[in-house]
Symmetry: C2
Subunit: 210 residues, 2 copies
DNA sequence: AGCGCCATCCCCTTTTTTAGGGTAAAAATT
DNA sequence: AATTTTTACCCTAAAAAAGGGGATGGCGCT
């Protein structure tokens, strides 16, 4: 007998073994219920809105529309559902695209069964479950390069430039003269060996100077 | 008797109860050893390099130099050490500053003792341990706004502008005419109700349109 | 079939910004 | 005391931005 508190889970996963393995695992856990399991987005699209899952486990590598590209469409069909991505690969670009598209968590398929269950629980409690390496990659994406050749002021000014502000406006907001800003920019260009705003921003971002 | 595999842990935490509680907990766990415990960065600065910890638990709210501002200095003293932040608050700005300064993980102080231990283990294995809400905040920071008034092309062009590229260069890279780029920008400005590049970028970023 | 939205392109003008060169003195750090 | 950082000034020409106007085909939805 299912109660109010039972967490409703759906799956979209093309590998039958994995799909049925997860379905069995989750379905046999107290407090969790598998309301549907599909093998592709196209299969799921027609009926998943009626299934009304609380949590959806979504494979990244799906035949037809990939899990990542399916995400925005699934978010429209299921605005309240927490979507957890499942993958065998840990590709940085995919991870950030998925998170940008609204994924609430990201798990590798070698995740142990009890961690899958606790990830589902965690996401219902407002958490953002991630596998260890993925969490590290996400954290690393924030990390600045300590080997930057730019001084503090130069970094600050380049950051302002990267927001699209003019030199004049930067000067006003930092309470320094326009000429000072120009000097800093000259030095930045020399240090980064570039000759334009765009190249300076690109180099600085690629190297995590800003 | 300590073996090669023993994980060396240091603490910097001003609250005596918490500091000694953690020290006791970690010191009495098989495979972990507390090599030092300080009550401020200033206290730690002189000697911590000799302690040679594998993992440092660092309080965010520290008397004197805050944990976040101490991070870059500690990274210089301890280039190989994984630094885990501890905090009572979950302030978004602090979290991102800490991650930018090289923190390897971020835990709230209400974290259970066994999760502290597993976080230390996880960071040694290349993971990035975070408390649930913090992980969610980090993930949310990537999420785009689906309610953007901008079309796909407009979004693409505004993203290019935010990298500092000129309209001419954007036109070349997207294989469209300069006039087309100008038209899109006009529409972007109207939709966002702004009159400059900088304001468009700011509005778009604030609203996660880009 | 028609409407609206989207992406594309064309013309005009004026103001603002950028990038390059050289020089040098406070101010802060080490 | 020495070095780095931050600040400021002068000069010039090219490039870019912002604002205005209008026009055309294509695509999706009703």
């Amino acid at each position: 007998m299912s109660r109010d508190l039972t967490i409703r889970v759906s799956l979209i996963e093309d590998d039958e073994t994995i799909r049925e393995g997860y379905a069995y695992l989750i379905g046999n856990t107290e407090g969790y219920k598998v309301v549907s399991a599909y093998r592709s987005f196209e299969d799921a699209a027609r009926r998943i809105a009626q299934d009304d899952p609380d949590v959806l486990l979504l494979d990244v590598e799906l035949p037809g529309l990939s899990g990542i590209d399916a995400l925005p469409k699934l978010k429209k069909l299921l605005p309240e559902t927490h979507i957890l991505m499942l993958t065998v690969y840990e590709h940085e670009q995919q991870i950030f695209r998925a998170l940008g598209n609204g994924a609430a968590g990201y798990l590798t398929k070698n995740t142990s069964h009890d961690k899958i269950i606790s990830a589902i629980h965690e996401v219902m409690e407002g958490g953002g479950p991630m596998s260890a390496h993925i969490a590290r990659m996400v954290i690393s994406s924030f990390k600045r390069n300590e080997q930057s050749p730019l001084t503090r002021r130069e970094t600050e000014i380049l950051e302002q430039i990267a927001t699209g502000k003019s030199r004049k406006r930067i000067a006003e907001e930092l309470f320094i003269d326009l000429e000072t800003v120009k000097s800093h920019i000259k030095n930045i260009y020399h240090k980064l060996n570039v000759h334009s705003k765009a190249d300076a921003i690109k180099t600085a971002k690629d190297n995590k100077f800003i």
